[in-house]
C-alpha cells in the first residue's frame, strides 16, 4: 500500500517535472532569440557563440549534434524547422540542404568576403574555416621523408594493410571528387581500385583513423589536419605518436571547408545575418585559428603557425558541395566494395 502511494507521488511529480521541462523549452520566437543548429563540438564553438551573444545582445539557442545527424534532421524537418542558421562541419551537408531548397541566399556583402574555391558558387552558403587533407603517419616507425608526398604512391605494396581512412566520411569523398577532377576519371578509378585491393584499414571517421595511427595499428592515416591538433590539445603534442604531413599541390592535400547557411524560414532575419556575418568576421576567424588550428578563409587573417600557406594547397575550383559529383564518387567507392 505504501509502495502504491509512493508510486503515485512519483508519477505525479514526474508529470509535473516533465511539463516543466516542456515549458522551459517552448521555442521563444522573438527577434532577440536565434536558433542555431551547430554541427560542431560544443566545447569549441560554445565560447565563440557566447562572444556573439555579449556583443549583440541576441540570445542564441544552440543545438549541438554531429553534422550528418543535423543534416538528416533538417531534411526531415523541412520548412517546419525551428532552426535559423546551420553551422556545418562540411560542405556536402550544406549542398544537400541547398539541393532541397531549404536555404536562403547569403547576402552578397557577406558571401563576397570569402574567395572562390572556398565557398559556394551560388551563394547558398558561405565558407567559414578550412581544413587541409593530410597524411598522419606513425612518428615512431617512419620519418617524414619516408611518407609519400602524393596519394598515388599509397597503392604500392609497401603500404599494404597500413593505410587507414574513412570511406564514408564526407571530406574523404570530397577528396575522391577532387582526384577525379584533377587526374581524370580513369586514374581516379584505378586509384580507388588499387587502394581497395591493398588491404586498407577502413574506419568510421577521421578521428578513428587518427587513433589507429596513434596506437600503432596503422602507419598512415588520411585525415583532416584539424583532428591532429585537437587530439594534441587533449593529450599534449609531445605525447602524440602520429605526426602530420601536408600534401601541397596534390589532390590528397585539398582543403575542405566548414560553412554556414541561413535556413529559408529566416531569409529576412536580421539576427541570422548578423550571426553569419560574425562567423566570417576577423574576430571569429582569429578565434578559429587560435582554438582549432583551422585555416581562416577571410583574406588577411594569418594561418596558424607551422602550417603551409593555404594557397599552396590545391583547390580545384570545383564546387565541393556539388552533390551530384559527390554521388559519382560514392558510386566509385561502392563499386569497389568500400562502402
Amino acid at each position: 500500500m505504501r509502495a502504491r502511494r509512493g508510486i503515485l507521488l512519483a508519477g505525479t511529480g514526474l508529470a509535473a517535472a516533465t511539463l516543466a521541462l516542456t515549458g522551459c523549452t517552448a521555442p521563444a520566437d522573438d527577434a532577440e532569440t536565434l536558433t542555431v543548429y551547430v554541427g560542431r563540438d560544443e566545447g569549441l564553438v560554445g565560447p565563440l557563440i557566447e562572444q556573439f551573444e555579449e556583443e549583440t545582445g541576441i540570445t542564441v539557442e544552440a543545438r549541438y549534434a554531429a553534422t550528418p545527424e543535423l543534416t538528416a534532421l533538417l531534411l526531415e524537418e523541412g520548412d517546419r524547422t525551428p532552426a535559423e542558421v546551420f553551422l556545418s562541419q562540411d560542405a556536402g551537408a550544406l549542398g544537400a540542404l541547398a539541393d532541397a531548397d531549404l536555404v536562403a541566399e547569403i547576402p552578397s556583402e557577406i558571401a563576397d568576403l570569402i574567395p572562390d574555391g572556398f565557398t559556394s558558387q551560388d551563394d547558398s552558403w558561405v565558407g567559414v574555416t578550412g581544413r587541409a587533407r593530410v597524411i598522419a603517419y606513425d612518428g615512431e616507425q617512419l620519418s617524414e621523408d619516408e611518407v609519400p608526398d602524393t596519394v598515388d604512391d599509397l597503392t604500392g605494396e609497401e603500404w599494404s594493410g597500413e593505410v587507414a581512412f574513412a570511406p564514408g566520411n564526407a571530406s574523404f569523398q570530397s577528396f575522391i571528387t577532387a582526384l577525379r577532377v584533377l587526374e581524370g576519371e580513369d586514374a581516379a578509378a584505378a586509384w580507388v581500385e588499387g587502394m581497395a585491393a591493398n588491404d586498407p584499414e577502413l574506419t568510421e571517421n577521421n578521428l578513428a583513423s587518427l587513433d589507429l595511427v596513434n596506437t600503432g595499428q596503422a602507419e598512415l592515416g588520411l585525415i583532416n589536419h584539424y583532428y591532429w591538433f585537437r587530439q594534441a590539445a587533449e593529450v599534449g603534442a609531445e605525447n602524440m605518436r602520429a605526426q602530420l604531413k601536408f600534401l601541397p599541390g596534390d589532390p590528397g592535400g585539398i582543403v575542405n571547408v566548414t560553412g554556414a547557411a541561413i535556413l529559408d524560414g529566416a531569409a529576412d532575419d536580421e539576427a541570422a545575418r548578423a550571426f553569419v556575418e560574425f562567423l566570417v568576421s576577423e574576430q571569429a576567424q582569429r578565434y578559429f585559428v587560435e582554438e582549432t588550428f583551422e585555416y581562416p578563409l577571410l583574406p588577411g587573417v594569418d594561418a596558424p603557425e607551422g602550417l603551409p600557406a593555404i594557397d599552396t594547397l590545391v583547390n580545384p575550383g570545383l564546387d565541393l558541395s556539388d552533390l551530384d559529383s559527390v554521388g559519382e564518387s560514392q558510386q566509385l567507392l561502392a563499386d569497389n566494395g568500400l562502402i
Binding site: 526531415e76 596506437t215 566494395g337
Partner: protein, 535 residues
C-alpha cells in the same frame, strides 16, 4: 485436463485488442515511415542500392553477429541463471547484482573502454565479445525468475527413470524455462541487429554502419531507408522465428505459483567454474571498460574543465526522461502483454510480433521518424521532453512486453474467474487481482525500459529539447572529440545512475530468499501432472 483444452474461449476481448492495436500502431510509426519513404523513392535509385557489391557482406555480417551473440548470451546466461536460482551459493545477493550490472553499460562505452586498453581489437571477434557479454543479463534475469518459481519435481522423477543430471534437467526443467530463454534470446538478437555504437567502434561493417554512412555522406535518406527496410526484414524473421519456437512449447505447463518442491543443487567440484562464470560476465562487460576509462582520467588534460552544475543537470534530465519513457513504454506494452498472456490465435501473435519490430531499427531511424511524426501531428510539442519520452516509450515498449506477458501469465485465470463471480467487473478484476499480482513483473518491465532509455543516444540527439542533454549525450559529445578526461565523470555518472534500476532488477532480495528450500505440500494434482508429463 482435456476438458479445459476443448473449452472454447470467451468472446474476443475487443477492448484489449483495440488498445493493443493502438499501441502497435504507435510503435509502428518508424516502420511505417520507412516503408512510405521507400515506396515514394525512385525505383531506379533503390535498385542501385541493392546492386552494391557490399550489400551481401553487410547482410551476412549482421546476421552472423546477431546469431553468434545470441547463442553466446544464452550459453552464458542460462548457466548463470541456474547458479543464481538453483545452486547453493554464498553471497547470492551480491552475485545477483553483479549479474544484472551489465545492463547499465551501453555497448559503445564498453567498446570504448576495451579499445582504449587493446587498440588492436577490431572486426567480428571484438564486436562479438563485447556485445555478447553486455547482453547476457537479458537472458539471465528472466530465466532466473522462471527457475525461482519452477519446481524440480519433474527432474527428480526423471532421475529415478535413469536419466543423468543433464538429461533430467532437459526433461524436467528446460520446458519450464524455455519461454523465458526464448524471450531473452529475442531481445538480444534484435538488440544486436540494431546496435550501432559498439559495432562501429570495432569497424565491423554491418547494416547499421551502412545506414549511418548513408546519412552522413550522401545525406540520402532514401538509401538509408532501403537499408533500414532490409534490417526490418531481418528483424521480422527473428520475431516470427521466436513465435514459432515458443508456440509449440509451454502450453501444457501451467505455472502454479505454489507448486511442488524445489531442490537446491550442491555445486561441489563445479563451484569454481560456476563462480568464474558469474565473475567473468560483469568483468568483461563492466569492470574492464570502467577501469580503463578511469585510468585515462589520470592522464588527461581536460579534467579541470569539470562543471558540476552541468553534470547535475544532466543527471536530473536523464532520470526524469527515462522515467517518463518507462511510463509510456509500460502503458503501451500493458494491453499487448495481457493479450498475449491470456489469449491465443493468429491475430494475437501478429499483434505481439508487430510490437517487436521497431526494436530491430537503429536509433537514428526511429528518431527521424518521430521527428516527422511529431512535426506533422503535434507540432507544438516538437522538441519537447514529452515527445522524447514518447520516443523512448516506443523504442523500449518491446522490452516491457515480455516481462508483462510472463507476469500476467503466471496469475492463474481461476483467480480472475473467482473475482468476477464475486461481483467484480472485468476492469476491476484486472486492477485488483491480475495487475496487483503481476505488479513485480510490471515494475520490472518499467525498470528495463528505464535503464535502456538512460543509455540511449541517437534518438535522443534527434528529439531532445535544445539545451537539454542527458548523460549519454554529454558523454558522447566529449568522447567524439577524444576528451576522455572530460568524458569520464559523465561515463561514471551514467553507470551509477543506470546501475540503480539494474540493481532493482537483479532481485537481490529474491535471491536471498531462494537459499531457503521451498517445500510446499505436494498435491495429488501435482503428482499426477508429473506422471503425465513423464509418460
Amino acid at each position: 485436463m482435456t476438458d479445459r483444452v476443448a473449452t472454447p474461449s470467451p468472446r474476443r476481448p475487443w477492448g484489449l485488442i483495440a488498445a493493443s492495436l493502438v499501441a502497435v500502431a504507435l510503435a509502428a510509426i518508424p516502420v511505417v515511415h520507412l516503408v512510405v519513404r521507400v515506396l515514394s523513392a525512385d525505383p531506379a535509385e533503390l535498385a542501385a542500392v541493392f546492386d552494391r557489391p557490399r550489400i551481401p557482406l553487410l547482410v551476412g555480417n549482421s546476421v552472423l553477429l546477431a546469431a553468434s551473440v545470441t547463442v553466446t548470451a544464452v550459453a552464458l546466461g542460462v548457466p548463470s541463471a541456474f547458479l543464481l536460482a538453483r545452486a547453493r551459493l554464498r553471497w547470492r545477493g551480491a552475485w545477483a547484482v553483479l549479474a544484472a550490472l551489465p545492463l547499465a553499460m551501453p555497448s559503445y562505452l564498453a567498446a570504448y573502454g576495451w579499445l582504449a586498453w587493446q587498440p588492436s581489437m577490431k572486426g567480428f571477434w571484438a564486436a562479438w565479445l563485447v556485445l555478447s557479454f553486455v547482453s547476457v543479463p537479458y537472458v539471465t534475469l528472466p530465466v532466473a525468475a522462471a527457475l525461482r518459481i519452477g519446481s524440480t519435481g519433474l527432474d527428480d522423477v526423471a532421475r529415478t527413470l535413469g536419466r543423468g543430471p543433464f538429461g533430467s534437467f532437459m526433461l524436467g526443467t528446460w520446458p519450464q524455462i524455455r519461454p523465458a530463454v526464448l524471450a531473452g534470446a529475442l531481445l538480444v538478437c534484435l538488440y544486436t541487429l540494431s546496435d550501432f555504437g559498439g559495432v562501429a567502434l570495432f569497424r565491423f561493417p554491418v547494416l547499421t554502419t551502412a545506414i549511418q554512412q548513408a546519412y552522413s555522406a550522401s545525406f540520402s535518406r532514401d538509401e538509408a531507408a532501403v537499408l533500414a527496410v532490409l534490417l526490418v526484414g531481418l528483424a521480422l524473421l527473428v520475431v516470427i522465428g521466436e513465435q514459432v519456437a515458443r508456440g509449440r512449447a509451454a502450453r501444457r505447463i501451467q505455472a502454479a505459483p505454489t507448486a511442488g518442491r524445489r531442490r537446491m543443487t550442491r555445486l561441489g567440484p563445479w563451484t569454481a567454474p560456476g563462480l568464474l562464470l558469474l565473475a567473468l560476465v560483469p568483468a568483461v562487460a563492466v569492470v574492464v571498460p570502467v577501469a580503463v576509462l578511469l585510468s585515462r582520467v589520470l592522464t588527461a588534460e581536460t579534467l579541470q574543465a569539470f562543471d558540476g552544475a552541468n553534470l547535475a543537470q544532466a543527471i536530473g534530465n536523464t532520470v526524469l526522461l527515462s522515467a517518463g519513457g518507462a511510463v509510456v513504454a509500460v502503458a503501451l506494452a500493458l494491453p499487448i502483454g495481457v493479450l498475449a498472456a491470456r489469449h491465443r490465435g493468429r491475430m494475437v501473435r501478429g499483434i505481439e510480433s508487430s510490437g517487436y519490430l521497431a526494436l530491430g531499427l537503429p536509433g537514428i531511424v526511429v528518431g527521424l521518424s518521430l521527428v516527422f511524426f511529431s512535426l506533422s501531428v503535434v507540432p507544438a510539442l516538437y522538441q519537447t521532453a514529452l515527445v522524447l519520452a514518447f520516443g523512448y516509450g516506443i523504442l523500449f515498449m518491446p522490452k516491457a512486453i515480455g516481462s508483462i506477458r510472463s507476469a500476467t501469465g503466471q496469475v492463474p485465470t481461476s483467480l480472475e474467474d473467482v473475482s468476477r463471480t464475486l461481483g467484480n467487473s472485468r476492469a476491476r478484476t484486472w486492477w485488483s487481482v491480475t495487475a496487483r499480482l503481476a505488479r513485480p513483473g510490471i515494475f520490472a518491465a518499467a525498470l528495463l525500459a528505464a535503464v535502456s532509455a538512460m543509455k540511449e543516444l541517437p534518438a535522443t540527439l534527434m528529439l531532445r529539447p535544445t539545451g537539454t542533454d542527458t548523460l549519454a549525450v554529454e558523454l558522447w559529445q566529449r568522447t567524439d572529440i577524444s576528451a576522455y578526461g572530460a568524458a569520464a565523470p559523465y561515463a561514471v555518472a551514467l553507470l551509477l545512475v543506470a546501475a540503480v534500476p539494474a540493481f532493482l532488477l537483479s532481485d537481490a532480495r529474491a535471491g536471498r530468499e531462494a537459499t531457503r528450500e521451498v517445500i510446499a505440500p505436494e498435491t495429488r494434482a501435482g503428482r499426477e501432472a508429473t506422471r503425465e508429463a513423464i509418460a
